[in-house]
């Protein structure tokens, strides 16, 4: 995806933002001769080389070494590449990863699409609430969600199994639900990825000219026939785009299968990368080679995603006026739909967080409800640990520095790409959107090796640098979406009224961009604080944020402590979001994401 393409659909996490379909800015005649690159463009280019191009290159360099780059006896070697690509050792893992990604993406699209249709076309009772419930998981941590589901539905000690056993008088080893399976992993991923599909498809549904459906009604077709023959085909680009988008996410996901300990059938490539990096005897070149293998597939996914986004522009038809689509009457169906939405909200948000709170209040991780004694001891104990306060500080640094820097650089990128254009603009555009194709854990290994000999190594700043690079596409995307909606003549009018370029930026451009940038900042704050995929590779005991600390507890099997830290993390995120929402007045509904 490049910043100049404006889909009528709404990408979410590594995608960017939903732009309203607005009149295209007058282009054409403005394309004068190429100007020499501005100072801004050169600065941005250098930043992107250090933040994006360097780490990605280092992954490829690292794959053809014998040891981790930076070690003394390291030399050039094809061994890791041969092992990963040709030995067959990882083929099962690769196929499993791709299969899991495709199934997850397909189901996300089905559920997200149906949800979007109901929420935009049917008078579902409590519609606003369900819509909130559907985008809420975007602001929650998939890691914490996976952890909560592990506590809920682990085969032996999970709350559901333990308590249903005595309630239903079953054997002590009866397993009713088991989240530590492939379907379990897909289920938890769905909870977090359906919202992306929903965002894409619902925005396309909202932008669709309602008279296209009305014309079908006028030609004698009822609700169902209209939905299948007109609405569904019109949604095809959005459906395809969200499919590949989710597939790319699911291919690179590390934390959900890792928490759920999926290793019965296969272990996903991202988990293999993690193992090769951290588990003794570690083999960094293999991790890098695995990273390149993952990279090719996500690259294909991103390419297909971009193509479908481009195609979707063809489907944007001229719309007469802003009429709202006619609401379909489904007297029974709307209640059924409401029930499904309620179940989703329960599974994705309510149940996991209740579990988290309950487990935090239960010392010794007792899951049998008959023996539960609630106390704050566990929380206080964890709270007093010195590594928790260090982690708090680190999370705060990440949560403040990363979104701020990303939004600023993103603004610079989008200004160069949207306003200055030119050949350098195109290069910057590609570099800025590149990290979408690189799974976080792979990107992090690149960052690690790039900065291994610098003073930032093993500090929280190397994590900060990695996250800034990884989230660059989102920052740029939000800023460009905002910038594309500001007609150039508004800026030109400022210049004609005697303002310098700088004054124009501060008096016209920035104030108009404020809403987009605030939404971007808030979402990036969420991403940065909950991040595990990258930070887990890069941070040591002194530099780890809360999310990694919680992960380390999971690794040690201390689920109760993990739950407490997960709760702390959730509180930090909630406070940040509330701050953005109430103090900064950031808009966070589905039309702004």
């Amino acid at each position: 995806m490049t910043l100049l393409e404006r889909p009528g659909i709404a990408p979410g996490e590594p995608g960017g933002t939903a732009t309203e379909v607005v009149a295209a800015p007058p282009g054409g005649a403005r394309r004068t001769r190429l100007r020499p690159p501005s100072a801004l463009a050169i600065v941005i280019l250098l930043l992107l080389v250090g933040l994006v191009a360097g780490p990605v290159l280092m992954v490829f360099v690292g794959a053809v070494q014998s040891e981790a780059p930076g070690l003394p006896n390291n030399h050039f070697s094809w061994d890791a590449v041969f092992r990963v690509y040709f030995s067959g050792e990882f083929y099962g893992s690769l196929l499993g990863t791709l299969g899991m990604a495709i199934v997850t993406a397909a189901l996300s699209v089905v559920f997200g699409g149906i949800a979007a249709w109901f929420l935009t076309r049917v008078a579902v009772p409590l519609r606003r609430l369900w819509e909130f419930g559907l985008i809420l998981p975007l602001f929650l941590s998939p890691f914490v969600g996976a952890l909560a589901w592990l506590l809920l539905a682990a085969p032996n000690s999970g709350i559901i199994n333990v308590n249903l056993r005595w309630m239903l008088n079953l054997d002590d080893d009866a397993v009713l639900v088991n989240i530590m399976t492939l379907p379990g992993v897909v289920f938890v991923m769905l909870l977090f990825y359906v919202p992306y599909a929903y965002l894409f498809i619902s925005s396309a549904l909202r932008n669709m000219d309602p008279s296209l459906e009305e014309a079908s009604n006028m030609n004698g077709r009822g609700t169902f026939a209209t939905a299948m023959r007109v609405t569904l085909p019109m949604m095809r680009p959005a459906i395809v785009a969200s499919f590949f988008f989710v597939a790319v996410l699911a291919t690179g996901v590390f934390v959900i299968p890792a928490v759920l300990g999926l290793n019965t059938s296969f272990s996903p490539l991202a988990v293999e990368v993690y193992r090769a990096m951290t588990v003794f005897p570690s083999n960094p070149p293999t991790a890098a080679a695995l990273g390149t293998l993952l990279f090719w597939f996500t690259l294909v996914g991103v390419y297909l995603y971009r193509r479908s986004v481009r195609n979707s522009n063809r489907y944007v038809t001229l719309s007469a006026r802003a009429t709202r689509p006619r609401m379909v009457k489904l007297p029974v169906g709307r209640w059924v739909a409401a029930a499904f939405f309620a179940v989703y909200a329960l599974l994705a948000a309510v149940l996991p967080y209740l579990t988290l709170i309950l487990m935090s209040l239960t010392p010794f991780a007792i899951t049998d409800m008959r023996n539960v004694r609630l106390s704050l001891d566990g929380i206080i104990q964890v709270w007093k640990r010195p590594d928790v306060s260090t982690a708090f500080g680190n999370t705060l640094i990440l949560g403040i520095v990363v979104p701020t820097v990303v939004v600023l650089i993103g603004l610079g990128i989008s200004y160069v790409v949207v306003r200055e254009r030119g050949r350098l603009g195109a290069v910057i555009d590609y570099l800025g959107t590149f990290p979408i194709a690189v799974p976080g854990i792979v990107f992090a290994t690149g960052v690690l090796w790039l900065y291994v000999r610098t003073p930032v190594y093993a500090t929280v700043f190397v994590v900060t640098i990695a996250l800034i690079g990884a989230y660059m596409p989102q920052g740029a995307r939000f800023a460009s979406a905002g910038l594309l909606q500001i007609d150039r003549s508004l800026e030109e009018a400022a210049r004609m009224n005697g303002a310098s370029k700088l004054r124009m930026l501060f008096t016209v451009t920035f104030p108009l961009l404020r809403p987009s940038l605030l939404s971007a900042w808030t979402l990036l704050f969420v991403f940065a604080t909950r991040e595990v995929n990258e930070a887990v590779i890069l941070s040591g005991p002194k530099s780890r944020p809360l999310s990694v600390l919680a992960w380390n507890y999971v690794e040690q099997g201390s689920l109760q402590q993990a739950a407490v830290v997960g709760l702390f993390l959730t509180i930090v995120m909630a406070v940040g979001i509330l701050f953005a929402r109430v103090v900064l007045r950031a808009k966070l509904d589905s039309s702004n994401l």
């Binding site: 008279s211 009604n217 004698g220 009822g222 489907y315 001229l318």
Partner: protein, 369 residues
């Protein structure tokens, strides 16, 4: 505006296949605001009726309500005597046997032209559908484009696809929602003619919504002039133009000179500021404060005014040469009057000239303060 193409007796003599439509005391509410406040009109089979009015007058809402795309909150709509919308009754749009041409054309971009047009023909065999589609595409002149996709066509062609799709189902009533407003001026005129031609050929009862008075005047058998959710005037175009029912009707359609005046003893003559204004038709409204309405093209300037019933002296304030005619702004004691006169009329700015209007070109309406 001397162009009157519609033959007033036409609806009964033309070939017609459409249904009659009866709208009685129709009310449409959006939340608290009432967009349509109780309007009634009826359409004969085959008639072409236009709902005309400024934006926000409720014309499109009325049309969508006839289509079944909006629910009525009061009153009834009956097609050929059968109530389709009324108290506790709302026949779904797909069951009404109506079709519609949308302002945005609503040509489905994922279907070819032929698929778009054949969409509404369900229950027929494939070959039957194909031949019907061919026939209609031939009729609108799109036969060579059958395999193209909707978005590959120009605005005018998309318009024709929408039209073909609407007539292929042989609806009882055809609705047009400002179908020409997205076309450029030249194409609009051509399409106006084609559309009318087609409506006459197929003879379907048509309800047409527009804010363009020229469209309304040139195409319709009758015009419903709407304002703020009410009917201002319902008549044949020529009568609306010649005898507007109100100041609004007079100014919305064509360019009118309005002079506030008070009726004297006779109901055919009014006075203001020392000038007398005579009309042929006696004023039949209430009160004695009236507004005299006459069209600027009926104002005569110069010696030709000698035999006219209304004859005043006026000062020429401004002259504008518009090619086809001379636009003259004249100052009367009562205020300014605009006249469109032949370009060879001997006038110059600042001169005092005789100005006149025939009594039969003057019409009194109730004065609005």
């Amino acid at each position: 505006m001397s162009q009157i193409t519609a033959d007033q007796s036409a609806p009964t003599t033309r070939k017609n296949r459409g249904a009659a439509l009866e709208v009685t005391d129709l009310r449409i509410k959006y939340g608290e605001t009432e967009a349509v406040k109780g309007i009634s009109f009826s359409i004969q089979p085959g008639e072409f009726l236009t709902l005309l009015g400024p934006s926000g007058c409720g014309k499109t809402t009325t049309l969508r309500c006839i289509a079944g795309l909006e629910p009525a909150s009061g009153g009834t709509i009956a097609i050929d005597g059968a109530v389709v919308a009324g108290p506790d009754k709302h026949v779904q749009p797909e069951k009404r046997g109506i079709n519609m041409v949308f302002q945005s054309y609503a040509v489905w971009p994922h279907m070819t032209v032929a698929k778009n047009v054949g969409y509404g023909l369900k229950g027929s065999s494939k070959s039957e559908i194909a031949s019907r589609v061919d026939e209609v595409l031939e009729l609108v002149g799109l036969a060579p484009y059958a395999k193209r996709y909707g978005t590959e066509l120009s605005g005018g062609q998309q318009q024709r696809v929408a039209l073909a799709r609407a007539i292929v189902t042989q609806p009882k009533i055809l609705l047009f929602d400002e179908p020409l407003s997205n076309l450029d001026a030249g194409l609009r005129e051509q399409m106006r003619f084609e559309l009318l031609q087609l409506q006459r050929t197929v003879g379907i009862t048509s309800v047409y919504v527009t804010h363009d008075q020229t469209e309304a005047m040139s195409m319709s058998d009758r015009v419903v002039l709407m304002r703020d959710g009410r009917i201002e005037q319902l008549d044949v175009p020529r009568e609306i133009y010649r005898r507007p029912a109100s100041e609004f009707a007079a100014t919305f359609i064509g360019r009118a000179n309005l002079i506030h005046a008070s009726l004297g003893e006779s109901r055919t003559q009014a006075h203001v500021d020392g000038i007398a204004i005579t009309s042929e038709d006696p004023y039949d409204g209430e009160g004695s404060e009236v507004t005299a309405v006459f069209r600027s093209e009926n104002v005569v300037v110069g010696p030709d005014t000698a035999k006219l019933e209304n004859r005043w002296d006026a000062v020429v304030e401004r002259l504008m040469f518009l090619g086809r005619h001379l636009d003259v702004t004249l100052r009367l004691p009562s205020g300014l009057v605009r006249a469109e006169v032949p370009i060879d009329t001997p006038v110059s700015e600042g001169a005092t000239v005789p100005v006149g209007v025939r009594a039969r070109d003057v019409h009194f309406v109730k004065a609005e303060s």
